[in-house]
């Protein structure tokens, strides 16, 4: 397999960044990593994952969709879209890589979301295999193998070198573009690292968590469960879980009058918010119980019902780490399963 010594990673980043925009996960402060546009000298984080997910690259928190100019009785609609430049996101974990497959099902089905597609077409996702999963990890529940991540190209770290493998044509083109820096390497040590990671995976506290009791046919069983009241009791109704989640994809579209015209914005929305799904007649989800239930039913029942059994969660564990009251999908699954 082709590899590069870790001591030469900076050279590799410089070479990639010379041709297109490169984003890497880097430390913002101890214990908190974020994706940043690469600048020479920037170092790859040692954190397992970023606080915000990688969905931001394809589905940004806010974006301006269109402008309107009103003069007298005419309205001019301005398509302000710009073709996005080619970019590479490096170091995406297996969970986040799978989240793109889930987002694709939402945004690339008919009618295709051309804003999202534009960014997907121009982005190359280079993943990084995990070797130190955290106690909050449960990607294996969703059939994800963190030692063999998806993405256009996958990287593997054996401690000394980074190995490269192409998963798609785009990924092959990425590896070809840096081929002059790579050399053929022996993967014996890497195989050991992967075997060790798999041992740890089996020992994770959430290793036994299963989706077996969930899916599209469980609507009636869970919708009316009396567990929701207790589960949602302490929920603050904030959007932390939704906003750090790599698969949450609900958004709101609003027009704003700037005084010089109208700007149409799209932004992330959260089903946990009191004004989510607010319509002319009011809001169909009047209490936090209903909002809370919506988020988990969507991931565990509605999404698989509409997407051939695929669940709307990748087990990245961000909500487990970040919910202010530590209520999360794992606790919900376990509580619902208790008969």
């Amino acid at each position: 397999m082709l590899k590069i010594s870790k001591s030469r990673l900076g050279e590799l980043f410089d070479a990639v960044a010379a041709k297109q925009t490169l984003y890497i996960p880097t430390d913002r402060e101890p214990g908190a990593a974020e994706y940043k546009k690469y600048e020479s000298g920037m170092e790859l984080t040692k954190e397992l994952n970023t606080v915000r997910s990688a969905k931001d690259f394809f589905f940004p928190q806010t974006e301006n969709l269109a402008d309107f100019k009103i003069e007298g009785k005419t309205i001019e609609v301005k398509d302000i879209r710009e073709e996005c430049g080619d970019f590479v996101v490096f170091g995406v974990r297996a969970c986040d890589a799978r989240s793109f497959t889930i987002l694709d099902k939402v945004f690339l089905c008919e009618p295709v979301d051309s804003f999202y597609k534009n960014r997907r077409d121009h982005g190359t996702v280079v993943t990084m295999a995990c070797s130190r999963p955290a106690e909050t990890c449960f990607c294996q529940t969703f059939g994800i193998d963190p030692t063999s991540p998806e993405g256009d190209a996958a990287c593997f770290d054996d401690g000394e070198s980074i190995f490269f493998k192409a998963n798609t044509e785009k990924g092959q083109a990425f590896i070809d573009s840096i081929a002059s820096l790579l050399e053929e390497g022996d993967t014996a040590k890497l195989d050991e690292v992967n075997a060790k990671t798999k041992e740890i995976m089996a020992k994770l506290p959430l290793a036994k968590l299963s989706t077996g009791n969930f899916g599209g046919d469980k609507l009636n069983e869970y919708f009316n469960s009396d567990k929701w009241a207790e589960l949602s009791e302490a929920c603050l109704g904030c959007g932390t879980c939704t906003f750090v989640c790599p698969t949450c994809q609900c958004y709101d579209i609003r027009d704003f009058n700037t005084g010089h015209g109208i700007k149409r914005f799209r932004c992330w929305d959260s089903c946990m918010y009191s004004d989510f799904t607010k319509m002319a007649h009011g809001n169909p989800r009047l209490t936090q119980l209903e909002r809370f239930r919506q988020r988990f039913m969507h991931k565990l029942v509605y999404f698989p019902a509409n997407n051939n059994g695929e669940f709307g969660c990748v087990g990245c564990g961000r909500c487990l780490a970040k919910c202010p009251i530590s209520m999360n999908i794992v606790k919900v699954m376990k509580a619902l399963e208790e008969k």
């Binding site: 750090v244 004004d275 009251i325 606790k331």
Partner: protein, 323 residues
């Protein structure tokens, strides 16, 4: 302490003094504790927890809980009693429907500080003579307790319970804290440095509203930022300055009412030191109107909602703002 609390809660449930108990419920790991309401001895024995990670302030939940029928037992730490009093003062909690049991405060631990040391795969955390013994998927680690203390506890203002019906353990005193040190540092910066500091911090905001929703001083039924009719609801921030305005406006709205419980910074997923905004207001109020601690009692009039002839002139505020 946990055993004493469970025992007392069971007694008060059994003799009918209370119908429910609000406290903390254990989670999947050592640290992921959820505020919870208990209604039976079995639930208390199975799930009730009080340890180094039970930092959440449960006072705000009493707004919702005292709107229900029956009486609830609330376990409040010293800092939580200040929020409790403030909510009583603002007529948000029905005092008759709460039985307050004062319990000792922190210092409580911050799992994120443990993880920031590179300690990952945390399976258990034990405090042995103020050294943390942390069992992880990758072996045992140790670190000093003091380095994992929550920021809000590291600058604790009071070990005194300002409201309670009974106490478990002893009451403490109001402390000389270092809580204004960082505010002073910010005050001593140039306007540009200070602007850059806050722009940097607020640029991390993901506008999840966790700070607002956890805040015991934020109990408006419909927040101005959620109300489309207000004209300033900004779920879609047109530019990054709108996030800045959200935090500044919120700090103004809770000024004089914020008890400095520190929950805003504790829950921020992006580690924005939001409490510093509130502390700036507290410090200014202390300096301009005399020492005042929101939530210290339930009857006094707050400086910003009271008029006295000794109040500082607006010009003082103006002068202080000039470099």
């Amino acid at each position: 302490m946990q055993e004493a609390m469970i025992k007392r809660a069971k007694e008060l449930l059994a003799d009918g003094s209370v119908d429910r108990v609000i406290g903390w419920k254990r989670g999947e790991f050592a640290y992921d504790i959820t505020p919870a309401v208990f209604t039976s001895a079995e639930e208390l024995e199975r799930d009730f927890v009080f340890d180094d990670f039970t930092a959440a302030n449960v006072s705000k939940y009493l707004v919702k809980e005292t709107a229900k029928e029956g009486k609830i037992l609330a376990f409040l730490k010293p800092c939580d009693t200040y929020s409790f009093n403030q909510l009583i003062k603002e007529h948000r909690i029905d005092r008759e429907k709460v039985y307050v049991v004062g319990i000792p405060g922190g210092p409580k631990l911050d799992i994120e500080k443990i993880k920031a040391k590179g300690i990952t795969g945390v399976l258990s955390v034990k405090n042995e003579d103020y050294t943390l013994k942390i069992e992880t998927l990758y072996g045992e680690e140790t670190m000093p307790f003091s380095e994992a203390v929550l920021d809000k506890c590291a600058s604790c203002k009071s070990k005194k319970h300002v409201a309670y019906d009974e106490l478990i353990g002893e009451d403490g005193d109001v402390l000389e804290s270092n809580r204004f040190d960082m505010v002073e540092k910010l005050e001593n910066m140039t306007a540009q440095e200070r602007f850059d500091f806050w722009r940097g911090q607020f640029s991390k905001c993901i506008r999840c509203n966790a700070c607002r929703n956890v805040c015991p001083a934020c109990t408006c039924e419909n927040c101005v930022f959620d109300n489309p009719k207000s004209g300033i609801d900004n779920k879609a921030a047109a530019d990054s300055f709108e996030e800045n305005m959200f935090h500044i406006i919120r700090a103004f709205h809770v000024a004089g009412r914020c008890t400095d419980c520190g929950e805003c910074s504790r829950v921020c997923p992006q580690h924005i030191p939001l409490h510093l905004l509130n502390r700036k207001f507290i410090k200014d109020i202390n300096e301009l109107y005399g020492e005042y601690q929101a939530g210290a009692d339930t009857t006094s009039r707050a400086p910003l909602t009271d008029y006295t002839k000794d109040d500082c002139e607006p010009s003082v505020v103006h002068e202080r703002g000039v470099e």
